[in-house]
Amino acid sequence: MDLGGIPLTYYLVLSAALFTMGALGVLIRRNALIIFMSVELMLNSANLAFVAFARSFELTTGQPVFTGQLFVFFVMTVAAAEVAVGLALIVAIFRTKHSIDVDQMSSLKG
């Protein structure tokens, strides 16, 4: 059954829109946890563009190519490591400042 298809451009525009929202979240929110979630959103939109290009390349060459998908796999692993360390940092900051408002994290010591 032929299900038709979706132009590559649609995926790229969606990925750009999600990335912009992630960037906007980093800029306008003050809650460190939500800023962190916005970073995850940006990583995810980049992954979507990667997989879309990988599919496009696969259809062009006519045989399965996994380079793009494997790169996304590595990005996910790095994101998991980043989240573990980042959340540990946020917990450590909360212990000293009793707040996760980024506006209050303006001094280097104390």
């Binding site: 590559l8 929202m21 003050r30 979630m37 996994f66």
Partner: protein
């Protein structure tokens, strides 16, 4: 208007709506749940793009493990909401303007560059998922063996780092 395109638009609207929900929600728990739904939508996009392994990894690693960690920390700190008050009143309009500029720029570039780009058909039931997985893991453990091992060391370092960062100071007598 075929089936795949309708599915794409429904999922795209959901993904963008949940991303907006993440941006505007006051409560961090709601923001995390919006993000889970967003990750689920992206996982379906991965299935449409013929990447079943990445889709499952997205659901288990992102929507499962990472977001559970986020929710755990939000509830551990009890930091769902921040008190109101702006330190930099000009920052928000400036940020919205800059983001609109970024979106316009990226959109124009993408539409200009990829106007005649390929139509991505989804594999449907034509391709055997097990064959895809076998070929993909073969490539992962031969061509990409070194990055794979480096990743394992990175995860170990992250684990040790997280433990060191969160452990309580013992004081002078240590």
């Amino acid at each position: 208007m075929d089936f795949t395109l309708i599915l794409f638009f429904i999922l795209a609207v959901t993904a963008i709506a949940t991303a907006l929900g993440l941006l505007v929600s006051r409560n961090a728990v709601y923001a995390a749940l919006y993000l889970v739904l967003n990750f689920a939508c992206v996982a379906v996009f991965y299935l449409l793009l013929g990447a079943p392994f990445i889709a499952m990894a997205q659901v288990t690693v992102y929507a499962g493990a990472i977001m559970v960690l986020f929710l755990f920390v939000i509830m551990l700190l009890g930091a769902e909401k921040l008190p109101k008050g702006e330190v930099l009143p000009w920052q928000r309009p400036l940020a919205v303007g800059a983001a609109a500029l970024l979106l316009a720029e990226a959109g124009t570039l993408l539409i200009q560059r990829f106007q005649s780009a390929a139509i991505l058909t989804d594999p449907g039931a034509v391709e055997n998922t097990m064959d895809i997985l076998r070929a993909m893991s073969g490539q992962l453990f031969t061509d990409y063996l070194l990055p794979f091992e480096v990743t394992s060391i990175l995860l170990l370092v992250a684990m040790v780092g997280a433990i060191v960062l969160t452990q309580k100071e013992k004081g002078a007598q240590g």
